[in-house]
């Protein structure tokens, strides 16, 4: 039995290594710069770390700006997703109304489609409206990706909060809006912040729509994609590291909510 136990733990550790080692090695390449990338054969322990390449990469015209734009787009997408998704989720959780199922179906339907691709025809309309090549335009498209998720998850969040608490607040003279804001929201806040972080990550990572809807004001993903063919490996890896750092941090922040959220959102 101990042999099987050891094998089992070896398997768990091996999978952890399978996930972590490639990320570590990308970081080693990004921080080590050209000497590490050109090294042959690579040393077992890539320890020469300096921030020179990363700094050099950040100094390229447009990189830092692309990061800021990517950040701006992701923040806007988060705000839109929460602002539009929470009320809709609340309505689904608390009221039974005609059309509720149709709305649910509409939200689920978006999942059967590759939403990012729908950015293709939007360029024309966006140019006309002055939204093309602006962070706002990309953020709107990204919200179409994140909103269905925000609606479904917040619906189940609110469902888990007992209705009685709200009713008690009404008895004490709160209006429905006050009750929702003062009683329900504080309880839903951890879940809501997880929804927000997910919307941020969805937007931060999206490549296709961001590339199609921008020309000069590119997000970090769109910028990297556009320069892949003409930049040295050291810059590509530095860009990759900048791209993954926030995501890893954010997933760490929402790790507790991951399962509750996906269990619900994928039902």
């Amino acid at each position: 039995m101990t042999g099987r136990r050891a094998l089992y733990f070896a398997g768990v550790v091996a999978i952890c290594a399978w996930v972590l080692v490639p990320m570590w090695l990308l970081a080693a390449n990004a921080l080590g710069g050209q000497p590490v990338i050109a090294a042959w054969p690579k040393p077992w322990l890539p320890l020469s770390i300096s921030f020179a390449t990363l700094a050099e990469f950040l100094a390229i015209e447009g990189v830092f700006r692309a990061m800021l734009i990517g950040f701006e787009v992701a923040v806007l997408c988060t705000l839109f997703s929460v602002a539009l998704g929470l009320p809709a989720g609340y309505a689904l959780a608390r009221y039974s109304f005609r059309g509720a199922n149709a709305f649910r179906l509409m939200v689920l339907l978006t999942r059967a489609f590759p939403v990012g691709i729908l950015a293709l025809p939007l360029t024309v309309g966006f140019i006309r409206l002055g939204l093309y090549d602006t962070p706002l335009g990309i953020a709107l498209m990204h919200t179409a990706l994140a909103l269905p998720f925000a609606v479904l998850v917040s619906a189940s969040l609110f469902q888990a909060i007992p209705r009685e608490l709200e009713e008690a607040a009404w008895v004490f003279g709160c209006s429905p809006l006050q009750a929702a804001w003062r009683v329900v929201m504080p309880l839903a806040l951890p879940g809501v912040s997880a929804v927000a972080i997910f919307a941020f990550v969805i937007s931060w990572n999206e490549v296709f729509a961001a590339s199609v809807l921008s020309a000069r004001n590119r997000t970090l993903t769109a910028y990297l994609l556009a320069m892949l063919s003409e930049s040295p490996l050291s810059y590509q890896f530095a860009g990759g590291l900048l791209l993954i750092a926030p995501s890893v941090l954010f997933i760490f922040l929402v790790r507790r909510h991951l399962f509750a959220m996906w269990g619900i959102a994928s039902r």
Binding site: W44, P121, T143, V248, I264, S266
Partner: protein
């Protein structure tokens, strides 16, 4: 106190938003794809199909989805079952295993480019093992098979995590009593897994497959990061037609093909893995 209009007011902004930024572009994409200089027709599809890369893109996309998605499901199933036996440290292991789900396919492509490029870590490992003596240039148009494997590995590495999360969440809903009862009657662990756990997890397997298939049809940045333009898939071709050839109508034709494939895949998974009402856990 509760106005009848209130739920509608709460839902309306989301409905309007999805209409404008999902349904309208959906219809526009289809319209654009069928719009030609002389009226409507299949002209753009004909141009798409006549392109040199089209055949490769179709074949590559199907090979990619057909290999990556089943691999992800099988691995995620194994990982979900492993997690059940983990006591202390489960949270940490879970976090590590699910990190890749927060990464973009572009980042995953760059990570595996670092691993697999000619002076990359795999080549170095093989050198240290004495299997090769010089840098290996695998990721070129001369070795499409190596490119294909590299892309599948990158996508497998990245997107297995989301399947793990969906399956673990589903596993939590499966009552333990069934498996315990079967075990009392002497069923082997494998038999319990195939006859009890697997059927009860059908709904989560179904949603995982739908999600992954649709997203795998859409993957393209990973392909460009690893293979440049040497490994065309449908969406990377749509991107090229839009950005480099400035032909939105042909790009839209590609988009329609991808949409139809996604929709067909969804319907197939919905039918094949349907759970009858009385069997729901």
């Amino acid at each position: 106190m509760r106005g009848r209009a209130l739920p509608y007011l709460l839902v309306a902004p989301a409905v309007i938003f999805l209409t404008v930024l999902f349904f309208v572009p959906l219809v526009q994409t289809i319209a654009l794809a069928f719009q030609t200089t002389n009226g409507t027709g299949f002209g753009n599809f004909a141009r798409m199909a006549d392109d040199l890369n089209f055949h490769d893109a179709v074949v590559n996309t199907f090979r990619f989805v057909g290999l990556a998605v089943p691999l992800q499901l099988a691995a995620a199933m194994g990982m979900a079952m492993m997690l059940r036996h983990l006591g202390r440290g489960r949270d940490t292991v879970l976090w590590i295993w699910t990190i890749p789900l927060g990464l973009s396919d572009l980042a995953a492509g760059l990570i595996w480019l670092a691993m697999l490029n000619d002076r990359g870590y795999l080549a170095s490992l093989l050198f240290h093992l004495g299997l090769v003596s010089e840098p290996q240039s695998w990721l070129t148009y001369e070795s499409p098979m190596a490119l294909f494997i590299a892309v599948v590995i990158a996508e497998f590495w990245r997107a297995t995590a989301i399947v793990v999360v969906i399956l673990v969440a589903g596993l939590q809903l499966v009552p333990k009593e069934y498996a315990e009862a079967a075990s009392v009657f002497g069923a082997s662990p494998w038999r319990i897994f195939t006859r009890i756990t697997l059927p009860l997890m059908k709904p989560s397997i179904q949603s995982a497959l739908i999600l992954r298939t649709v997203l795998a049809f859409e993957a393209f940045a990973v392909v460009i990061a690893i293979g440049g333009r040497n490994f065309p898939v449908l969406v990377s071709e749509a991107y090229n037609w839009q950005n480099f050839n400035q032909e939105p109508a042909v790009a839209a034709a590609y988009a329609v093909v991808v949409m139809v494939l996604s929709l067909v895949a969804t319907v197939v998974w919905l039918r094949v893995l349907r759970t009858p009402e009385e069997q729901r856990a």
